[in-house]
Symmetry: C2
Subunit: 350 residues, 2 copies
């Protein structure tokens, strides 16, 4: 990747950012999606003080403590601010509840044009997320440049999916139905989400985020034509609006859209565990850094198996790579399994 | 497809079977996965008499009535026997409960070698499924050769997934974990499921099934290497054991394994709605008939949109094709939407 394409003017010294910008590194950096979470005993202890998930997310000191824990405990090469993608719909006026062991639920969902019009958006919505910005500032100070800090948001299609469906779902058929029955309304809602997300991410960068990751968790539910029409253009708007930091797009299940993702002005493409590294390299080419993609279930195995699987993955990517799992680490993963994974990457040399 | 590869000695006259055997047909045949079900008012009325799902499945006259309903009401080109893939684990000794609006639940799951050893398998297990064979016989007589009758079973990996996980799941992480932590035990269990499935499908053919479909509903949860190791060999055993009828393999989400599926001795490959027909044709080549793959959510749209989407799909496949959705029809799909889909296929000419 040519230096003049770099979104960062001073070349970074931290491994994770150097790799994200396409520099050849001595080994891949490593972090885990959901590393700030239930896998850590420190996190579980912290949560005892905040049994209510949303109160926890809204307490910047607590969120910052959770953000730092995996850096201290696991020695990962990046921190990611502890928060939730659903703070964006809430900032737009759609409250959610987090039901322990079940997931999120929206008491009111988006059903009509009136519902969409009633939503706040853009800077007006994003200003209510001051608690996330403060969590980033506190985390950034506490990190003291040990590792970079990742900010994040849900991708617009995934946020729409929750706002229309009202909860997680096996099929997201209510949300997908809207794209067939009310495509204009869907685009209006996607634009409001996009405007809010841009304002939100801009504030995250001001507060100290070094890289931004977009999570399109329900990308894999859409037919390719819908992903192209209802997801990619909004990812593009967000990436184009944030030239000052590198960006990662993780579209889970979107194997069919890799060629579309290549065209986005982002530096890193996240991959789930279904995608063979060779397939991804062939579809994406050398212009992007790839992030992923060990099966999270591999970390349930014994240390030797984890090391073998991890090294096989690192070799398959063979460079231009940020090591991660292909999905968020599962909450019941043994800490020793996580350590074996991180250790295997840190001991690896190209 | 050369005639000497045909598993049927007398050439069939019914459109669906002719297409399944690779014959060039005047239009594609059409049916819907889950066509015998909640989309039909007749089915909902029938279920009022059998509020308990399992009692319903175990009453051959009722199951046969549900099997015939979509043929009478929608004019589809094939019937599929009304049953459930989870009758196989039950026949092996693992009871399930069907919880309305939530799905299946196994009070006891497979956790150890002792649990696997305690399971019945093969003909001994399959003989307890007499009620399915009787439903096939009653259906076959009632159909009076109007359309062919499809028999089916779950693919071994998908059955293992339920037996280990105990219910549906967003990640099937318990089942996938077993493949890393106890691969030998997983293979033992898969073999017992395979032996049972072969005995079961053999009896279905004796009872009148004209074609057999294997549903690998959770194929898409596995990394490609695991699908190759833990799923494909058992699909192969089943296909090889059943030379007397054509076979369809529908591995949902297994876009990464299409090349492996090509090598199976089956005639038809089912495709989900993520897979672009052009991609499938390129990966699979002309040696298989393709079945699918309209997004089930398209049937929520207005008639004109459904016709447009259906015709676009039929053109994209362009022959060697059985029209269907890319997943089971969703229970709240309007009947008019289903009619528009079936009508669009029946009005289509190559």
């Amino acid at each position: 990747m040519a230096t003049n394409q770099s979104p960062v003017t001073n070349p970074p010294t931290q491994l994770f950012l150097r790799a994200a910008l396409g520099e050849t590194t001595e080994r891949p950096p490593v972090w885990l999606m959901r590393q700030a979470g239930r896998i850590l005993p420190q996190y579980r202890a912290l949560r005892l003080r905040f049994p209510d998930f949303k109160a926890f997310v809204k307490t910047p000191e607590a969120a910052a403590e959770a953000t730092l824990q995996p850096v201290d405990e696991l020695g990962v090469d990046a921190a990611i601010v502890f928060s939730d993608i659903l703070v964006v719909p809430e900032a737009m006026g759609l409250n959610y509840e987090m039901i322990e062991a079940k997931g999120p639920r929206f008491p009111k969902t988006i059903e009509s044009q009136h519902d969409v019009e009633a939503l706040r958006s853009g800077a007006e919505a994003a200003e209510s997320l001051e608690y996330v910005y403060e969590a980033l500032r506190v985390s950034k100070r506490a990190l003291a440049d040990r590792v970079p800090l990742i900010g994040f948001a849900g991708a617009p299609w995934t946020i729409l999916a929750y706002m229309v469906e009202g909860s997680g779902s096996k099929t997201f058929s209510k949300a997908r139905r809207l794209l067939y029955t009310e495509p204009v309304l869907a685009h209006t809602l996607l634009q409001k989400i996009t405007d809010t997300t841009i304002a939100y991410l801009r504030q995250q960068v001001v507060a100290g985020a070094d890289l931004l990751q977009l999570f399109d968790s329900w990308a894999g539910e859409l037919p390719a034509a819908h992903y192209r029409a209802f997801a990619v253009p909004y990812l593009r708007q967000i990436c184009e609006a944030m030239p000052e930091v590198p960006k990662t797009v993780f579209a889970k299940g979107a194997w069919f859209a890799l060629e579309d993702l290549v065209g986005l002005p982002c530096q890193v493409i996240g991959l789930d565990w279904n995608i063979d590294p060779a397939f991804a390299k062939q579809k994406i080419g050398g212009g992007k850094v790839l992030q992923g993609n060990l099966d999270p279930c591999a970390l349930y195995a014994d240390t030797q198996t984890i090391e073998k699987e991890t090294v096989a993955m690192l070799r398959a990517f063979g460079g231009n790579h940020i090591a991660n799992l292909g999905h968020g680490v599962y909450p019941d993963t043994p800490l020793d399994g996580v350590r074996a994974f991180v250790g295997a990457v840190k001991n690896f040399q190209y």
